[in-house]
């Protein structure tokens, strides 16, 4: 099939362009990853602030009740208790919604986890506008920016539930503070167990023969990026789609490489366009290989209540928006 230019080495799902693709929230991957990490290493402990089930940390709590700590609605307390664990040999994961952790407890994370270089993993669930009906108070759209700006902190934003599980297991093995970002809503499972995943290494998911633009995406919108690439191929516009799950440290070698190959970039994220993936890519390219860039994401605005899919469209992160941005950026070359 000529319009399908998926990178075979990425071993992606065969259903990416089908309407019956499996849908699972990325937070499920977190819960499953915690259980795996807990089995692999007895030093893994998990804390939660009254959101045990919705962050999926209940899976770990069930398996390892003695290593699970309910702190109540107290994210600041959760972060600082975890900091103590992390400096004394444990590998704590703290779980809440991203607006509350790392939102509410930003300063505690900065001081007692990042500056302290304590081995804490911060898991922010319900990130992005796809949180839906709960509205803007619960839709974290600045979390990657604040965590990326923080020294010592690594930032991962997995693209689906399978990658989320791999990222969680990997985080337990990375020494030092890590931020993991997850979504609430069911989203397309685009990778498979066999898809390569190494923190810090961006993966090419789509590779046209004559790419004119690179779409660099993260999180659940990688799926929209692939759908856009598929449509554009039919219109004879070639692209590369990069799954850039690690924002910090960003894979500047591969980012530079795709910019060089195509001469134009579109970034795609469920986050403010400042400070997140768009910011990270722009910072790299401004330094090593400047090309025109268009930014898909929240345009310096808060979200609102609504069905997740409709919100993604309303706020300009739909497939058609990505296609438009690709065409626009190619014209700017």
């Amino acid at each position: 099939m000529s319009s399908n230019m998926l990178n075979l080495e990425a071993k992606l799902s065969s259903k990416i362009f089908d309407s019956d693709i499996e849908m699972v929230p990325t937070r499920n991957g977190y819960g499953e990853g915690l259980v795996r990490a807990g089995k692999e290493n007895k030093n893994v402990v998990v804390l939660c602030a009254d959101l045990t089930e919705s962050t999926r940390s209940h899976l770990f709590a069930k398996e390892f009740p003695e290593r699970f700590f309910e702190v109540g609605v107290a994210e600041q307390n959760m972060a600082t208790i975890a900091a103590g664990f992390g400096i004394s040999g444990k590998i704590p994961f703290i779980s809440s919604y991203a607006v509350f952790s790392p939102g509410r407890n930003y300063e505690q994370i900065r001081t007692t986890i990042a500056y302290n270089d304590s081995n804490v993993k911060v898991a922010g669930a319900h990130a992005g506008i796809s949180v839906g009906p709960d509205g803007a108070t619960h839709q974290a759209t600045e979390d990657m920016a604040i965590m990326r700006a923080m020294p010592n902190m690594k930032v991962l934003c997995p693209c689906d539930a399978i990658e989320a599980k791999k990222a969680t297991v990997a985080a337990a093995k990375i020494w030092g503070p890590v931020y993991l970002r997850f979504g609430r809503e069911k989203s397309a499972v685009i990778t498979t167990e066999g898809t390569p995943f190494t923190p810090g290494k961006a993966e090419v998911f789509w590779q046209s023969r004559k790419p004119e633009c690179a779409i660099i995406a993260c999180g659940i919108l990688v799926h929209n990026a692939l759908l856009a690439a598929h449509d554009l191929e039919k219109e004879k516009i070639g692209t590369i789609v990069l799954n850039n799950h690690t924002l910090d440290p960003i894979d500047d070698r591969v980012v530079k490489e795709v910019a060089k190959k195509t001469g134009a970039v579109v970034t795609v994220e469920e986050h403010q366009i400042t400070g997140g993936l768009g910011g990270a890519v722009a910072e790299v390219l401004a330094r090593v290989f400047p090309v025109p860039i268009e930014f898909i994401g929240m345009q310096d605005i808060f979200g609102e209540s609504g069905p997740p899919h409709d919100l993604v469209e309303k706020y300009g992160m739909g497939v058609k928006d990505i296609k438009k941005a690709v065409k626009k950026v190619i014209k700017r070359k």
Binding site: P133, H138, E304
Partner: protein, 288 residues
């Protein structure tokens, strides 16, 4: 403010039952949102909006109005419904709760809906915001009172106790601040006393130098009397710990923390409405 006489009480009780019915209908239409807290606080909100607050629904930005800060934003269905009943906006608009382009956000947002004083949802930060408003009243020599509705669960937030400590400082003279706690003993993961005990709750507030009262949150006469006492207290802020039954009025929701954050489905809503209508009829007949 005058105490509740018998006739007014009956009127308010009927109103509260109607508000509970509308909460159920609104949640059913929204397909998501919180049931237990809003039902449990329907009597308190009815008493506030229809007897206690000095306010003008048609002039929501009237500068001398009493302020009602809702700290536990997730119970906003009860606030929205009561506000609609009080005339702040058309009852019809309740159908837009949690939908796209709505003024009725899943958690209340200041600015889009006149009468909503603060954006809330993230827990534990309402009392401190209420303090800011109450201090403004002091500085501006305004006579309005600041009411802050808060939940028991959010008293697990450090931020809440930072605020309570601040307000208890005598120098601040925050006797214009009245905090109302929805003491319903539940939160998302279970019962407060099992998740993270709040007791001895009264003594804690007293230790922070507050005037503390406890009321039955479903007895509006008691609640109105407590507010009157709070207004008369000169040297301290007051907290009214209102003992409520989460899900009050709907048998299968009452006291069950599973109903913290979900709406009824069609069958459940029908059952709930049946029970509430029976209750409404009973109140009416007692009245006659």
């Amino acid at each position: 403010m005058e105490p509740l006489h018998e006739g007014k009480l009956k009127h308010l009780e009927e109103l509260a039952t109607g508000i509970r019915e509308t909460i159920i209908e609104t949640l059913l239409e929204a397909k998501s949102g919180h049931s237990a807290g809003p039902l449990g606080m329907a009597d308190i909100f009815t008493a506030l909006y229809f007897h206690i607050l000095n306010h003008r629904p048609k002039k929501p930005d009237w500068s001398d109005r009493d302020r009602l800060i809702l700290s536990n934003g997730h119970i906003c269905p009860v606030r929205y419904v009561t506000m609609a009943y009080a005339g702040y906006f058309p009852i019809e608009e309740l159908k837009t709760l949690r939908k796209i382009n709505s003024r009725l956000q899943g958690h209340p947002h200041r600015g889009v809906l006149p009468g909503v004083e603060t954006t809330s949802g993230p827990l534990g930060s309402g009392i401190s915001q209420a303090i800011g408003v109450a201090l403004t009243a002091r500085l501006d020599n305004k006579k309005y009172f600041v009411y802050c509705v808060t939940s028991d669960g959010e008293h697990q937030e450090g931020n809440a106790w930072e605020a309570i400590m601040f307000a208890g400082k005598q120098k601040h003279k925050l006797n214009n601040l009245i905090v109302i706690v929805d003491r319903n003993n539940i939160q998302i993961d279970g019962f407060t006393e099992e998740i993270m005990p709040l007791e001895p709750f009264v003594e804690k507030y007293e230790a922070f130098n507050w005037h503390v009262m406890e009321v039955d949150g479903h007895n509006m006469t008691e609640f109105v009397d407590a507010v009157n006492e709070a207004k008369a207290i000169y040297e301290k802020p007051t907290v009214i710990i209102a003992h409520t039954i989460p899900g009050k009025g709907v048998s299968f929701m009452e006291r069950d923390f599973a109903w913290h954050g979900k709406p009824p489905n069609k069958e459940e809503a029908e059952q709930a409405l049946k029970e509430l209508r029976t209750l409404g009829t009973r109140i009416k007949s007692e009245h006659e």
